[in-house]
């Protein structure tokens, strides 16, 4: 698998604030790469630097091994992007917007092809309606159609599910999966909805305060042999005290409504037995192994651990 995009030592300083700090990662051809971070972590700034909207303070972005700022036109002709919300020309129709974006991308399609593109995102019957009459979900789908109008090899989606209802989120997710699996597109997707990324990404990069925290295959980062168990008990304080004296005392995160314990799969029955033995009234014991747990453990640290244990 070859590298399509490579971000090398990228930094951006806005007066006093360092939005991105020596960030490096790469996106392999044909993969879906999730780009994760809390609000203000530097995701959008990084994406804007990838798309040459913002000049980096230092470092560089390479697309197909060529420095993207030097080969901007060549690179952008192979990239389709949506940055945050899909703002389009509200006073124009969906078809007119699509035509403008196609011409700007240097491609010319027939009327039928444009309508086919709109059909692909479920907007065929609204092709001649002005965008100002569209819902947020429809605008998002039109934004995706505009990003794909020149059939790019690489698609950058910055928070593509922002402001969408559950159906809209599912539609976007299905479209991304289809683009990846059926058309072999390479996709970089940033989102704060971690569960969404978890369902579609093969690789991911997690950043916080502009710095990379983790990167790699989703399957490897989630440590299949390890899991996180969420424990709910009648008396959470008592449970925390009991666990604080156990072998798992360094693997606890005590939250306001549950205790998270990181352990190996085979330890779960042992944990249950231990809790019963110490007369902890268990109300639920749930095994979780999600990106969200990993993300939270990486970005929030262990500051909540042992709040009750000591």
């Amino acid at each position: 698998m070859s590298t399509l995009l490579s971000v090398e030592n990228l930094s951006k300083q806005f007066s006093e604030i360092k939005a991105v700090d020596a960030l490096s990662f790469s996106v392999e051809k044909g993969t879906v790469c999730g780009f994760l971070g809390q609000n203000g972590a530097g995701k959008s700034t990084t994406i804007r630097m990838i798309l040459t909207l913002i000049q980096p303070s230092s470092g560089a972005v390479y697309f197909q091994r060529k420095e993207i700022r030097r080969y901007r036109k060549e690179a952008l002709s192979q990239i389709g992007a949506i940055i945050e919300k899909p703002d389009l020309y509200k006073y124009l129709t969906a078809l007119q917007n699509l035509k403008i974006m196609a011409r700007l991308s240097g491609v010319k399609r027939t009327e039928a092809q444009y309508r086919q593109q709109l059909e692909r995102v479920g907007l065929a019957d609204r092709a001649d309606s002005k965008v100002k009459t569209f819902s947020q979900g429809m605008k998002q789908r039109l934004g995706i159609a505009c990003a794909l109008v020149h059939d790019p090899a690489f698609i950058v989606l910055d928070e593509p599910t922002n402001g969408l209802d559950p159906q809209g989120i599912a539609d976007v997710r299905n479209l991304i999966l289809r683009l990846s699996r059926e058309e072999g597109k390479t996709i970089l997707i940033s989102s704060h909805l971690l569960s969404e990324v978890e369902q579609i990404a093969d690789h991911m990069v997690i950043i916080d305060k502009g710095k990379k925290l983790a990167a790699g295959k989703v399957s490897e980062l989630l440590h299949p042999s390890e899991t996180v168990v969420h424990l709910n008990a009648v008396n959470l304080q008592q449970a925390a005290e009991v666990l604080g004296q156990s072998a798992w005392k360094d693997q606890l995160q005590v939250q306001h409504d549950h205790i998270a314990i990181r352990l190996h799969q085979e330890e779960i029955p042992v944990l249950a037995a231990y809790l019963v033995q110490h007369q902890v009234g268990i109300t639920s014991l749930q095994s979780r192994n999600s990106l969200e747990d990993l993300f939270l453990s990486l970005t929030t640290g262990n500051q909540h651990v042992a709040a009750y244990a000591h």
């Binding site: 020309y89 974006m101 991308s105």
Partner: protein, 279 residues
């Protein structure tokens, strides 16, 4: 480049605000024509009261050429606002709508994009002036007929034979186009700094009002500044209605305006090429 300019023109002419300027010009021109048609004689008597004591003026003074001159004199002072309405919106309006970042993720160079926007504003300006010429000149000729042109000045009047007038209007409109494109380039430059179009429109008008005040006040300090203020040269379309025409002076003004256009557009390109798109 032409393809990009066509896209920009398409967007400009799909916006309702574009037609405000055409509507306003049509309304003002027709109102002046109507007023002069109904009560033009009183207006002329008032204008010529000092001269009529010494001279007798015969012939059709209130003709199409004269009415067009009065309209241009009145209107060209206010047209910059209508130009700024569109030119000030070219970049700032896109930033405000969030479409600027969309445009700049397409494989188009920033220089070409900015130039196409400037060309689109210039073409809009030219169309506005052509529209104004059609209404003010041909409309007035249709309503009031032809005649020798009387050009009123502060202490005298200049008469130009009807056969010698038309080319002067052609050049005057050409010069006015240069003046208005200077305004468009200023609004365009200010547009690159803002993320909504109100700022550049107000700023453009403020610059023009301040410069016009400096131009019109007869104070030695301001007089020394006048040759460098582009607003001082904008009204030199009237130079074509002198007898004889001082071509040196008109050309000098045209070059000053051209210099300002090149300066403002170059600055816009320099800033726009380096601008971080955060909108």
């Amino acid at each position: 480049m032409w393809q990009l300019t066509r896209i920009e023109l398409f967007k400009v002419f799909q916006k309702p605000r574009t037609y405000i300027a055409f509507g306003a010009i049509a309304a003002i021109v027709m109102l002046v024509q109507l007023a002069l048609y109904i009560d033009g004689r009183t207006y002329l008597d008032f204008m010529l009261q000092s001269i009529q004591q010494s001279f007798e003026i015969n012939g059709v003074v209130l003709n199409g050429y004269f009415v067009c001159f009065i309209i241009l004199q009145t209107l060209l002072v206010h047209v910059p606002l209508l130009i700024a309405l569109v030119a000030g919106d070219m970049i700032a309006g896109e930033a405000n709508m969030g479409t600027l970042r969309l445009l700049l993720t397409k494989p188009v160079s920033r220089t070409q994009l900015a130039l196409s926007k400037f060309f689109a504003s210039s073409i809009y300006t030219l169309l506005l002036l052509i529209f104004m010429a059609l209404l003010a000149l041909f409309g007035s000729l249709l309503i009031f007929g032809q005649g020798d042109l009387m050009v009123p000045k502060s202490e005298m009047v200049v008469f130009i034979d009807r056969s010698d007038v038309f080319w002067r209007y052609a050049f005057a409109f050409g010069f006015a186009a240069l003046s208005m494109i200077t305004v468009a380039s200023l609004a365009f430059l200010l547009s690159v700094f803002a993320e909504n179009s109100i700022g550049p429109i107000i700023a453009t008008m403020s610059v023009i009002i301040v410069f016009t005040i400096l131009t019109s006040m007869d104070i030695p300090l301001f007089n020394a500044m006048k040759p460098y203020l582009f607003t001082n040269h904008m009204l030199n379309w009237k130079g074509f209605f002198e007898r004889p025409v001082d071509y040196g002076e008109v050309l000098k003004s045209a070059l000053v305006l051209l210099f300002h256009i090149v300066l403002f557009v170059s600055l816009t390109l320099y800033i726009f090429r380096r601008k971080d798109i955060l909108s």
